[in-house]
């Protein structure tokens, strides 16, 4: 038999195969990013201090029952109306704050029967043990959004269009932005806005009855 030389394997398509695998992994790799509603829990007190007396008009009560129905200021309300109602309450500015200044940036109705000042307006959220988590999150979302919208409005008024609270916060929190001077500037602005509209959501311990 004649001596046969083994033909060389053509490796030209190796790159194609590798590319195919590479693209597969590129597409399937999802760098997961978690999004969420951030809240701060109140400190745990072994002996809760005496209840502080707060004027009723400065409290905006939201109660959710086990049927996921919502009672806002003792009236039944749909979820879609909550944001507006909360904004009206926070932005009312009917009186004076701790320092005796009235709210000069509020655009609310200045109803003396509603909240005095955004820094005094408290939202009291109460739920039952049987309330569904999705309803609870939806309500927290609406309440948070009410504050965000007010902060956005003031941010645009003070710092010009495009400089919304949301946008500035996103830049401030972006780890890719390395400009320290910019971050410092944004931080003062954000703190100022947070001071104007502090997020005061108080949650009562849920009862099971």
């Amino acid at each position: 038999m004649a001596k046969r030389s083994i033909p060389e394997v053509n490796a030209g398509s190796m790159a194609d195969i590798a590319f195919l695998l590479l693209i597969f992994f590129l597409v399937t790799t999802t760098i997961e990013q978690d999004n969420g509603i951030t809240r701060k829990l109140p400190r745990w007190e072994e002996n809760p201090p005496e209840d502080v007396v707060i004027k009723k008009k400065n409290i905006f009560t939201v109660v959710v029952n086990k049927e996921d129905q919502m009672l806002v200021e003792d009236e039944l309300m749909e979820l879609k109306d909550l944001r507006k109602a909360a904004m009206e309450f926070i932005d009312n500015g009917g009186g004076k704050n701790e320092k005796g200044e009235s709210c000069d940036y509020c655009k609310g109705a200045r109803n003396p029967e509603s909240s005095d000042h955004p820094t005094k307006a408290i939202i009291a959220l109460k739920n039952e043990r049987e309330t569904t988590y999705s309803t609870y999150v939806a309500i927290q979302n609406e309440l948070g959004a009410a504050y965000t919208e007010l902060r956005n409005r003031e941010a645009v008024r003070m710092y010009g269009a495009g400089n919304t609270y949301t946008a500035m916060n996103a830049i401030y929190r972006d780890p890719k932005v390395k400009d320290e001077a910019l971050k410092e500037k944004l931080k003062t602005r954000l703190d100022k806005l947070k001071e104007m509209y502090p997020q005061i959501i108080s949650e009562a311990e849920s009862k099971s009855n």
């Binding site: 790799t29 969420g36 951030t38 999705s134 979302n141 965000t148």
Partner: protein, 155 residues
């Protein structure tokens, strides 16, 4: 005397593509190694609730601690039909949270403990009672920053 071969008139030699597979393989291995398959297999149902006023969770420095909760998923019916908590790889009772929090703190650098955030990955059909229990434990352990993880609503 050595003779230099004369190049043929101005013709460029063809660029060798022999190293191309190596480069591509290098990239491939890079992606294969950095792709982390989820380390916690979920034993509970986990459909997150919808919300739009949300912030990205900063996961730098490993400062996020996860707590899962929901009804036991398919195949884990032995844990009942009521919503339960999952910590790492096992189903836990609310009373076990304390120990879990301590172990999570011990894993981390002391300097980042004050900045730790608890991410609640909870199924949307869970009752708030369980969440209240979790929050109670967190408050007792002074882990006050929490995040209710949610997804953007589909339009």
């Amino acid at each position: 005397m050595a003779k230099f071969k004369k190049k043929k008139d101005g013709e460029l030699p063809q660029a060798s593509t022999a190293a191309l597979p190596d480069i591509v393989f290098m990239l491939l291995f890079f992606f294969m190694t950095v792709t982390v398959m989820k380390d916690n297999s979920l034993m509970v149902e986990n459909k997150l609730p919808a919300a739009d006023d949300i912030e990205k969770l900063d996961r730098k420095n490993d400062k996020v601690m996860y707590i899962y909760a929901g009804k036991p998923a398919k195949g884990y019916e032995k844990f009942g039909t009521e919503a339960v908590i999952q910590l790492n790889d096992k189903i836990a009772q609310p009373s076990e949270l304390k120990q879990y929090i301590h172990s999570e703190i011990a894993l981390r650098d002391e300097s980042i403990v004050p900045f730790m955030v608890t991410a609640l990955k909870v199924d949307k059909n869970t009752n708030m009672g369980l969440i209240s229990d979790i929050k109670q434990e967190l408050r007792k352990e002074n882990m006050l920053k929490i995040s209710y993880l949610s997804v953007k609503p589909q339009k």
